[in-house]
Symmetry: C2
Subunit: 294 residues, 2 copies
């Protein structure tokens, strides 16, 4: 099979061709510009690729409700030209193919469940911690959409006792994203995260916030795997700090040997590494073609 | 159709017979005693009822993983005799029938989706606020189980600025249950909740805690309906306080007209009233018989 995949991000679009084994056979990337311009490049790329379907995992917020009149649109974003843009419709006009369409983080969760850290499991949660914080939710073998779609990056957290930073989320101030995104780290410590030493107390504070969100996620959803990706999670020293903090928060309440005794296999980096997003889009495309075939 | 239903609670077991329309045709109740004794009463009740299946929604924690060697067991509970008791297996020995088996709160969510406040929707979250706090999660047309099962009653909350009560959860101190259960209200104010006037500031504080949990639930799961039941929610003045507080927390971030403009139809009491639990068990039994029929 030949499936097209689009990982649509705020700064770049990564497009590729892959197969049902999750192998990426070709890959290109385009800067995120005005939507017409970006999509022209993408359409030109796929024109001679003879794919059976295209999966799109995109930045948002987006409309993923098939019953909605604005299904397939980017909804409200400060990115020039993208607010109210009919992303999926524009692609469908160019290609008469089955399309997969979901958020970038749901796509990543789906890709990880297909071929990555959650392979063979019917649930996982994917957190990306970077410029923003996003959460993809895969539960009981399905991506969770609901009323709009999960926006777990904005979950409420308790302030760290030593933290004087007010938080930089324009909506909530000191929600998770406001306290723990890459820009929040930079504003709090006046240097970029990757310029802080791995032993800096910044990471213990960062782990404190991320662990709270994971604790609430475990309590509400009981996922079979928690996957942490994104630029900030390149700081590998965060993983043991987060795991210890989650165990401390749960305090033995959720009696699962995964959490009590094997947490290093439960809270993990993406199995697909930097391919999580593109493989996720590929998995969405694959699901679309399988659904179209009945 | 004739389906048996068991709502197994910490103080009493309610058993009934119902049909595929959600109508309860008979109902009895037994005190929760030592498990052998309680189950003898239940087995005697169903013996001549000629039901096609039995659904059980029970207090827990319980094992709901069909692949587990202790599937159908109550796991760890301080209730004498129940810890490690094979509840489902005991019932199966008595009746060669399809059985539905889930937590009391998942059952209630399922019943509400079948015949109650979330009828026709493919997702809802059911909170019960009483002696403890429990959460049932129904997403994308399925009850969420995951690694263990949701335990959202213990989600982390921020302390109210005027609250000096330390919280009474033996595991987490000031988690949601530790701050907002019926016993927490009583310990904080030194009187039972139903002896406090409806204008007492206790209710604003209670709403503050419950609203935080709902806010995090909306951000993580985006449910199509939030249903609040249990003894504490008999205090109807809580609903407008909770709705206002959820809107304040979200601050316009989740742009859904349900949340922005029609929240009184989004955060609601159980449509099935006091029957939510028993109807939920009935819905589980119905699903079991339908699954058995293929």
């Amino acid at each position: 099979m030949r499936i097209g995949a689009i990982e649509a991000g705020g700064t770049k679009f990564v497009c590729g061709i892959g197969n049902e084994l999750g192998t990426i056979e070709d890959r290109v990337s385009f800067p995120t510009e005005h939507p017409e311009r970006t999509l022209s490049s993408i359409i030109a790329y796929f024109e001679d690729k003879q794919v059976e379907a295209i999966g799109i995992g995109t930045f948002g917020p987006i409309d993923i409700n098939p019953a909605s009149s604005t299904y397939g649109f980017v909804t409200t974003t400060p990115k020039p030209g993208w607010s109210g843009f009919d992303f999926l419709g524009t692609m469908k006009q160019a290609f008469d193919l089955p399309f997969g369409w979901d958020t970038d983080v749901n796509a990543a969760a789906y890709g990880e469940a297909a071929w990555g850290a959650a392979k063979g499991l019917d649930s996982c949660v994917y957190y990306t911690v970077g410029t923003g914080i996003g959460v993809g939710v895969y539960a009981e073998g399905k991506l969770v959409h609901g009323l709009v779609h999960p926006e777990g990056g904005h979950i409420l957290v308790r302030r760290h006792k030593d933290d004087t930073f007010l938080g930089n989320c324009p909506y909530h101030g000191d929600c998770l994203e406001g306290m723990a995104s890459g820009p929040a780290i930079e504003q709090r410590w006046k240097v970029k995260g990757n310029e802080l030493s791995t032993a800096h107390s910044a990471w213990e504070m960062e782990a404190y916030y991320i662990a709270q969100a994971i604790t609430s996620t475990i309590l509400l959803l009981s996922p079979k795997k928690v996957i942490l990706g994104g630029g900030v999670m390149q700081q590998k020293q965060l993983f043991p700090l987060i795991r210890a903090e989650v165990q401390r928060h749960l305090n033995g309440y959720v009696s699962s040997c995964m959490i009590m005794g094997a947490i290093e296999t439960y809270i993990v980096p993406p199995g697909l590494g930097d391919n999580a997003g593109l493989c996720g889009a590929l998995a969405l495309g694959l699901a679309a073609v399988n659904q179209a075939k009945g």
